[in-house]
Each structure stands twice: as C-alpha cells, then as structure tokens.
C-alpha cells in the first residue's frame, strides 16, 4: 500500500517537474528565434566543429554582438531542423555533406559546383556565407619523401610513378568509388589494395612510413598528416566529395555580423584548421582557449 502510494507520488512528482520545466522556458533555443539581438551559435558533437563554432562566437562578441552558445548538439539529423526553424542562427557546416543532406541525389562533387548547388539547395530563411579554404574530407595522402621523389601535387600526378602502388585503407574502400576502382576510372592510375582497419589511424601512418603502402586515405584536417610529414594530394576530378568549412546563417545574422564571419572564413585555411585540431588533440586545450588564441593571432579579436 505504502509502496504503491510512494510510486504514485514519484510519478506525479516527476510529471509535475516535467510540466514545470516545460513551462519555465526550458527550451534553451527559444530565446534566439525571432529575437534579432542575440545570435545563437550551434555546433556538431565533433571537437573540430566546436572549435570553429567557438571562433564564430568570439569573433561576433569582439564586434559587440550578443551570442548564445548551443554547442555539441549532435549530428545533422538533430540540428538541421533547429536551423530550419530559426532556433539556431549560425552553424559551422561542411559543403558536400550538407548539400547531400538537403539534396541526396546531387551530382556535384567539386569545390565550386558544390558551393553553387548548396546555395540553391539552402531552404528559405537560411543562407550559406562564404566558404572557407579549409577542408575536412577524405583524401589520398603520401609521405613527403614519396611526393618529392615523383614530384606529386595532385592525384593525377600518380600516373608518373613507375613503381607498383598499394593503397592502404579500411576494407570497404576496395569496392567504393574512392578506392582502386575510382583511381583507375577517374585518373587512370593502377593501385593494389591493402586493408588496414584503423580508419587512417597510427597503423595506416606506420604502413606509409614503412613503404608497405604508398597511398592511404586520411582526413585532410587530421593532425597526423602534419605531425608525420605527409602530403594530401589534390583531387581535381572530385573522387572525394568537396567538404569545405562553411557557415550556415539565419536571417537573424545581419550584414554586419555576416561580414565578421566572412573575415573569419577568409583566414581559415586547411593548415589553420589542422593547427586548431592539433592543439585540441595534442594539448587537450578547451575550444574557448584554442579559439581565442587563433583569433588573437589573426588580429580578429
């Protein structure tokens, strides 16, 4: 008897708490929508994305804008509806994947065509600001030594290599368009395949350095590229979907604020993004500190 009463009490109490919290303006995002003064900045649940969002936020604050941070929200399925409804005003995104989210059937793959298509695909009430030079996408990497030996800059240059080539990557790449098949079709480059199942991690880097593989698939913004003196090859044929850092903004971001963010994007190169990521991975610094240091170095604080 007393036990069931206790249970009933708990249920009622919990329900009341839920109702109260719902009434009490617990929706943390409601303050931003429609309120032209405060800019709500969001980020993905991805350390690199959080740093970029923090940079946007601090750059805006430095110019006297009010900012509300809603960082580490989750993945695209979770936050894009919040953007579309106007609850979030500014979000660092990536051109290719965002375009594919809005237009799954798109054929655009290269930097400029992806950006143009993305401008068209962006729903009313939102717009994409200038894309940064920085990319965060899969890429073919080689060691600097190998790149210099054969004078490699783009993937197409691999045709000059007369030694047999082996590509090391997760096993699914063997049958994907960006594996040996795509390399053959798009660039006419023949390569064998060696599965290494650590997603471009330390074993892949080791295999590159040991010359067990000459090519590997690693993210352009991965700090291990710089740390191990590796080189990302350019991809003029768009084997990998172009994925530049791009801010998505609501109408609450006025021209003045947009100019601030455009300045940030203009300064953000892939090298800069790698440095930011490296400080997070190696020095374990919080995003606010990394962002503040970078803005100060750019003279944007």
């Amino acid at each position: 008897m007393s036990r069931s009463r206790l249970t009933a009490g708990l249920v009622a109490g919990t329900a009341a708490a839920l109702v109260l919290s719902a009434c009490g303006g617990s929706d943390p995002l409601s303050s931003g929508g429609g309120d032209g003064d405060t800019i709500v900045v969001g980020s993905q649940d991805y350390y690199s994305n959080e740093i970029v969002a923090e940079i946007y936020a601090q750059a805006l604050e430095a110019e006297g804008h009010d900012v509300d941070r809603q960082l580490r929200i989750g993945q695209r399925e979770a936050y894009v509806p919040e953007l579309e409804s106007g609850d979030i005003d500014l979000f660092p995104e990536y051109t290719g994947p965002l375009l594919q989210y809005w237009e799954p059937k798109t054929k655009a793959r290269l930097t400029d065509e992806v950006y143009t298509a993305l401008e068209d695909a962006t729903p009313d009430g939102l717009r994409v600001l200038d894309q940064a030079d920085a990319t965060d996408q899969d890429s073919y990497v080689v060691t600097r030594q190998f790149a210099e030996k054969w004078d490699l800059r783009t993937i197409a240059d691999l045709a000059k290599v007369t030694e047999p080539l082996t590509l090391g990557a997760n096993s699914e790449a063997e049958n994907r368009p960006n594996g040996p098949k795509g390399l053959q079709d798009a660039y006419g480059v023949k390569a064998d395949f060696a599965p290494i199942e650590d997603g471009g991690g330390p074993l892949t880097v080791k295999a590159l350095k040991d010359d067990d593989v000459q090519l590997a698939i690693i993210y352009t913004a991965d700090p291990s590229i710089k740390k191990n003196d590796l080189v990302s090859l350019e991809d003029p044929e768009g084997l990998f979907l172009a994925s530049h850092v791009v801010p998505v903004a609501s109408d609450d971001v006025d021209d003045d604020a947009a100019a601030v963010i455009d300045e940030v994007s203009a300064a953000m190169t892939t090298d800069a993004l790698v440095d930011l990521n490296q400080r997070s991975v190696d020095e374990k610094l919080p995003a606010e500190k990394i962002a503040a240091d970078w803005l100060a170095a750019q003279g944007l604080d």
């Binding site: 997760n170 395949f193 060696a194 290494i196 199942e197 067990d212």
Partner: protein
Amino acid sequence: MSTFLDALAWILDPSSWGGSQGIAVRVAQHLAITVAAVLLAAVPAVPLGVLIGHTRRGRGVVVALAGAVRAVPTLGLLTLLALLLGVGVWAPLLALVALAVPSLLAGAYAGVESADPEAVDAARAMGMSERQIVRHVELPLGAGVLVGGFRAATLQVVATATLAAYTSDTGLGRYLFSGLKSRDYTLMLGGAILVALLALVLDRLLAVAQGRATGLARRTAADSRLGA
C-alpha cells in the same frame, strides 16, 4: 531471419567460393594462421609446462604470468605489435601466439601433474631416469589433459584469427570487417557462420584426438598397475 537465409545462400553459392577473395582461399588462410599460431605457441609452452608439471617448481610464477597474458586484449596487443613490426600478417600471428600460450601451458603442466604419484614413484624406484619418467609415465598418463590444452587453445585462436584481417588481407575476418563498414550484414553473418563452422569442425577433430589420448592414458595406467 532473412539476413540469415541470405547469408546461408551466399555460403552455398558456388561463385562465392572461387577466386583470390573466395571462401575456399580464405578458409585455407584462416586455418593456416590458426595452426601456425597454435604450433608456434606450443614450442615454448609445452616444454615449459612439462618442466613445471614434472618438477612442481615455479608453478605460482608461471600461472600468474599466464593469467596476466590471458587478460591482455588481443586487439590492443595486435595494434602494439603492428606499430613495431608494421602491417602484415606477423603482428596478428604473434598476438594469436600470445593468446594460445596460457591454455597450452596449463594443459601441459596439469597433464603431467595429474600422473598418479604412485606410478611416478614406482618408475623412479625401478631406476628410470627423470627423462624416462616424463616420457614413459607422466606424458602418456597426462596425454588427455595435454591434448585438452591444444583443444582449448585452438578454439580461442580460430575464433580470434578474424583479427588477422585487421592489418592484412588474410582469413575470414575480412568478410566481417568489409561487411561491418559497408553495412553488408549478409556478408558479415556469412563470414561469422563460416568461422563458427570451422571452429566446430576443429573442436570435433580435437575432441576425437583427446578421446584417443585419454584412452592411451588409461591403458598406460593399467599397464603400470600390472607391472607393479
């Protein structure tokens, strides 16, 4: 359920078996790396186990060490070895050797130890050398347990040999890794079923061997009683 049926259909499809990526080649590779790992592990583990079982010395230390090795996660060890040795088949092979050692060691010393002390004393009283005692009394009497160690080690290694595909294009593990990353669950399940079947077949074969070895132990015991 339909994934399971698809996986069975994939295994039964003759076109899945041929070629350098086919089931036949991969089963052979899987079997080869399993046998190689168990035999390589037996080289140090069995003589050491016999020595410990016979002398009854150093057991505490070795059992503790073997227990510690058992606790080492094989994937972690494999990654560490691959960082030292580079990618290829050596790192997973050595990791599998480390996995097999404790079972083989335990089988060897427990087998030798299980020999009836009276039989051992009798052999010693008859003037047998220590080497002869090991060979003609303790090993035959403990053969069933010793083979049991091989059986346990083989079962662990054949199941874990899927990790060979982590750093090299070897064995049935490749179906699991490719299937997982590309969400081809039919392929993954098919690979898993093949590993399970291979494990069952090996276990049955070794169970028969263990039965024979135990029979040998019984006959040896009976002989020694007759002799005594």
